[in-house]
């Protein structure tokens, strides 16, 4: 295998009797920032702890910069970790906290002090060097934690939901700061979060995890437009997932049938020959509400929600309920008969799932 900064190969992990990771594979390139995104219990924190060496996999192997570290204890892996609750040493000053890793690496005094000072300068905490963590605000502690992890020049930086204890405004500021530091230092980084916006805004690639597996690992743009299955599609906002079957095709124009026998015409080259089954996914803004016609799905307007610039409608159709947005200027009334069309360039095509 070539020089991937991180590679996880067929990792299986257990907590007691329950299996939490089911054959996980992932590689992270040098200098890349990859987020692990998923709801709690999906295995993202377990993955991080495996990389740190705090837990051992039941099978599979972990390599850092091409070197197998599966059996290496955590204190010899040299990974910089930013913990969710910062985990600063309460009995040490800010400078001592930041210098801790250098001290373990036998970096002697004038040099150590210089590097600590430079790092504190970077994170804007030079004047706080002699304070104790208890005298710092949440954002400042966050910076100390980051400085402490970065000052040791780790081959890999890992951040475990580092912003979850901060308020909304600070979260946005800190995440661009983290990104900047990571880029400036050319660090490979793994970032664990359950916040989609955070993951998408900060990462080169995002791994969406579900039930101990990585479902899709791609650039945010790819995830957002081309999810690989219904789970990811729903996760990134494709609220309408409608199973279809191709009944007629003429070049790019396809006539499809959904549940309830309703037919609609789509201009989708991506679908297969007649008889092909697929799922079309659309966000509420990816559906067009118009007058009923024989190329759209017939429906009646249900509950209406005001969303600021638009109205969101729940629309009952023979193919099941759909959620669509309509313009604020022309509110539709409950019970009105409409036709729903798919805006092909905003939709995604997913394989049929057997369940």
């Amino acid at each position: 295998m070539q020089s991937n900064a991180v590679s996880l190969n067929d990792i299986v992990a257990h907590y007691g009797n329950s299996q939490v990771l089911h054959g996980l594979n992932m590689s992270v390139a040098d200098g890349e920032l990859v987020s692990l995104l998923g709801s709690s219990g999906c295995g993202k924190t377990t993955t991080l702890r495996l990389l740190a060496g705090f837990i051992r996999p039941s099978s599979g192997s972990i390599a850092l910069s091409g070197r197998d570290v599966t059996g290496l204890p955590p204190y010899r892996r040299g990974i910089g970790i930013v913990f969710q609750n910062y985990a600063l040493f309460p009995h040490l000053t800010v400078a001592q906290n930041v210098g801790f890793g250098l001290k373990q690496r036998q970096v002697a005094e004038p040099e150590r002090g210089k590097r600590v000072a430079a790092m504190l300068e970077r994170v804007g905490l030079s004047s706080f060097a002699d304070r104790y963590p208890s005298a710092l605000s949440g954002g400042q502690r966050q910076r100390v934690a980051l400085a402490r992890a970065l000052v040791i020049d780790p081959p890999l930086l890992m951040l475990d939901e580092p912003l979850s204890n901060l308020d909304a405004k600070l979260r946005v500021d800190m995440r661009s700061e983290i990104r900047e530091l990571q880029r400036a230092n050319k660090r490979t980084a793994i970032y664990v979060t359950h916040d989609q916006e955070e993951a998408f805004s900060i990462s080169d690639r995002v791994a969406i995890m579900d039930a101990g597996r990585i479902v899709q690992l791609d650039a945010p743009e790819t995830l957002f437009t081309r999810p690989v299955n219904a789970f990811v599609a729903r996760f990134v906002g494709f609220e309408n997932l409608v199973p279809m079957i191709v009944v007629e095709r003429d070049g790019d124009r396809v006539i499809c049938e959904a549940a309830g026998g309703v037919r609609t015409t789509l201009s989708l080259a991506a679908t297969g020959p007649v008889g092909d089954r697929f799922v079309i996914g659309a966000r509420p803004e990816g559906l067009a509400i118009g007058a009923p016609s024989n190329s759209t799905i017939p429906g009646t307007i249900g509950v209406r929600t005001y969303l600021g610039r638009t109205y969101q409608y729940r629309i009952d159709t023979p193919a099941g309920p759909l959620v669509a947005n309509g313009p604020f200027s022309q509110p539709l009334q409950q019970g009105e008969a409409v036709g729903i069309g798919f805006l092909a360039d905003q939709c995604c095509i997913l394989p049929m799932e057997n369940n």
Partner: protein, 263 residues
């Protein structure tokens, strides 16, 4: 600071509790300096001769030495066991059955007098342990619950991710325990040591069965003494014992900082 008026009933109860806590000390000190041949309070006259008497009694001095030796040994052994037990329970608590932690509290539930007797009948006699060893074994066991309980309490507020942070920064786990975990639970450890030391130093019930010919702890010696004599010597011994306790606590405070221990 704003001056707040205190309900007189609450104030009265407060003072009563204070008096109740202080009275034994005042009475013992008073009786110890009484210039009489019997225990008297309020003291009649003033004399330090009973202190002199105590310091001349070989049995008191020898038993004091035994007491100190037993208390120091028992506290040290209980600390060694209790510290690691508490740490293990806190660190790996989720993977250990819940009842396991309670095992360390069991000595508190068995009446000490029953415990002392059973220990004598089973272990001490069958193993033919020397008296001092027997005392150390018995006291270690009665000290252990306090040790585990108090250290556990301070570990329960310890954030173990700090330990992981230190390890991830390259420190060996054993060094992490000594330089990161210990300093942060120091207050609990000190409180536990003081509590265990006092428990051992003042114990009567267990020691009663474990002391033997020629070897006795100070409280047992006092107990035997008052069966024969009724002079203020016992009060003088008590004052000296309190003095030792205070000195020990002051030393602990000086070296380790008790101010934080009782925070």
């Amino acid at each position: 600071m704003q001056q707040r008026s205190v309900n007189p009933v609450v104030a009265a109860i407060g003072w009563l509790v204070m008096a109740f806590l202080m009275a034994p000390i005042v009475i013992v000190i008073g009786a110890a300096v009484s210039d009489t041949t019997y225990l008297a309070f309020p003291p009649q006259g003033f004399s330090l001769r009973w202190f002199g008497n105590v310091l001349q009694q070989r049995s008191f001095m020898a038993s004091f030495q035994t007491s100190m030796q037993v208390a120091i040994s028992a506290t040290s052994i209980a600390l060694a066991i209790g510290l690691f037990a508490a740490y293990g329970l806190a660190r790996f608590g989720k993977t250990i059955p819940a009842w396991f932690g309670s095992v360390f509290l069991l000595p508190l539930f068995v009446p000490e007098i029953v415990f002392g007797f059973s220990l004598l009948k089973t272990v001490i006699v069958s193993l033919e342990l020397p008296v001092t060893t027997a005392l150390i074994v018995g006291h270690t066991i009665i000290c252990l619950p306090y040790m585990v309980r108090v250290i556990s309490a301070s570990l329960s507020s310890f954030d173990f991710s700090i330990e992981e942070a230190a390890v991830s920064l390259g420190m060996h786990p054993i060094k992490v325990f000594l330089t990161i975990v210990l300093p942060n639970i120091r207050s609990g450890v000190i409180a536990a040591v003081v509590l265990a030391f006092i428990t051992s130093l003042n114990d009567v019930a267990v020691s009663l069965f474990l002391t033997g010919p020629g070897v006795s702890t100070l409280p047992i010696e006092v107990f035997t003494y008052v069966e024969q004599f009724f002079d203020p010597s016992v009060a003088a011994v008590s004052v000296l014992l309190m003095g030792v306790t205070i000195i020990v606590m002051a030393l602990v405070e000086r070296t380790l900082g008790l101010g934080k221990a009782v925070k």
